[in-house]
Symmetry: C2
Subunit: 241 residues, 2 copies
DNA sequence: TTCGTTTGTATAGAACAATAGACAAATAAA
DNA sequence: TTTATTTGTCTATTGTTCTATACAAACGAA
């Protein structure tokens, strides 16, 4: 616990508890130690610890019952596979009951330098941008921004809005299969807009995956920047020959 | 900017500036806007903004000169490749002038459940644990904890301490080549010990890679949990067929 | 019921964060 | 040299966070 670091003690403790629950080192039996025990373990006042618990209750990680104790509401981390055939829906099929993706917004715009380079287009070429939110079992998992060549895929947004599936969108344009070429993974604090969409509290961490998908001919068809909730998802990379 | 969120405004601003510098959207010319301009942009008092800058100066990201302005000290993010042949030294060779790894501590202990499973050993089997720190161009890049089968690799720590290389350590035991089997990537706030080793300030984010390396016969030889400084490194995953 | 345990609420003081205004010190340009 | 610009220091005030103590309310077991 670091004091006067710009991060309140209660928030540092909330982060540690959330992480320990994910790692299974705390509340593995579904029940948290008492407030007294935890406040002693962290070396803080009971009220400070209560602030941490309150934040986690707000997030839906814990549930507190007067007179009984504090309980773990959701534990398991999802493992999102990254491979040549990465798909949102199939990747989480066995770990979740229900998955869905929602189109938040779409636009046609001129490609920025990063997007143009990733898609192999001329700078300022027209591209379709999709803002999407993916949920699993009713809880937000990731928030993505995707770009597509507007000349090759006119009306992609419309089709995606109806089907909720990138794969089906591509099929409409005669692309039966596509592959993940490369993925850059970084991490940062969620920005204000993502905090709201992903229903997180300030200071939450997102894993950022910047990915390029290609068709069977090796031509880039999609560039996407996906922000995963770091507390709910880990990325699984398989590099076996 | 979120107030009373448990994260001080100056720290939120420091995080944003650090990130904007990494993305090239701020200080691309090596020079930061004035304190007045920045405090207006973020909608805070100049003193609050100064706290953010002071933190970044402390981290070595910025350099402030009285009467002249504030300047960017280090910008470029390192791109750490994750593939079947992941090696620390070779992976960063073209992006850095100088790289080194330091052995901080080592021990022989009984394998925990996660380690035993990863290495394919019996629970409580004896394993060697290495605590290492990797630097590039004099700045800490990652902090790793590695485990090896103590029966197969007796004295591995000693050899690593002398050579600073995992690859050379394996060669000593007749392993000419080894491969990355799988990598699990997650992100979290750095814990207190890592903050000190990696010379970070509180609230810093680390990318956590949990990796299994195998020999040419497919037998696991190393399990490692590496914490990368998220502001200085991104992971590059290539999944092309 | 009675008792011990546990979470919930209230109040007050000390430490830290954020705002405000004023001025000093260094730099660069007129 | 003079002036404008920019970072550095100081003091004061207000709001948030943390600590300390006390007691209420709900639960479960004796």
């Amino acid at each position: 616990m670091t004091r006067k670091s710009g991060v309140a003690l209660w928030r540092q403790i909330a982060d540690q508890i959330r992480q320990a629950i994910g790692a299974g080192t705390l509340g593995a039996d579904g029940r948290l130690p008492t407030e007294m025990a935890l406040s002693e373990r962290f070396g803080v006042n009971r009220h400070t610890l209560r602030s941490a618990i309150a934040a986690l209750v707000q997030e839906g990680v814990l549930r507190a019952e007067q007179g009984r104790g504090t309980f773990v509401e959701s534990r398991q981390k999802l493992s999102y596979p990254i491979s040549a055939r990465t798909r949102f829906s199939t990747g989480l099929r066995e770990q979740t009951r229900e998955r869905r993706s929602i189109l938040l917004a779409d636009a046609v715009e001129a490609a920025g330098s990063r997007v143009a380079e990733a898609l192999g287009l001329a700078p300022e070429a027209p591209v379709i941008r999709l803002e999407t939110l993916s949920e699993a079992d009713g809880r937000p998992v990731s928030r993505a921004t995707s770009w597509f060549d507007a000349e090759r895929f006119p009306g992609f947004a419309q089709i995606y809005a109806e089907t909720g599936s990138i794969t089906l969108g591509f099929q409409h344009f005669g692309i039966e299969d596509y592959f993940r070429k490369s993925t850059l993974v970084s991490a940062r604090h969620a920005d204000t807009a993502d905090l709201a969409d992903l229903r997180l509290s300030a200071g939450a961490i997102v894993l950022v995956a910047r990915a390029i998908n290609i068709d069977t001919a090796g031509v880039p068809v999609q560039y996407a920047e996906t922000r995963f909730v770091a507390d709910r998802v880990e990325l699984s990379v398989s590099t076996e020959a």
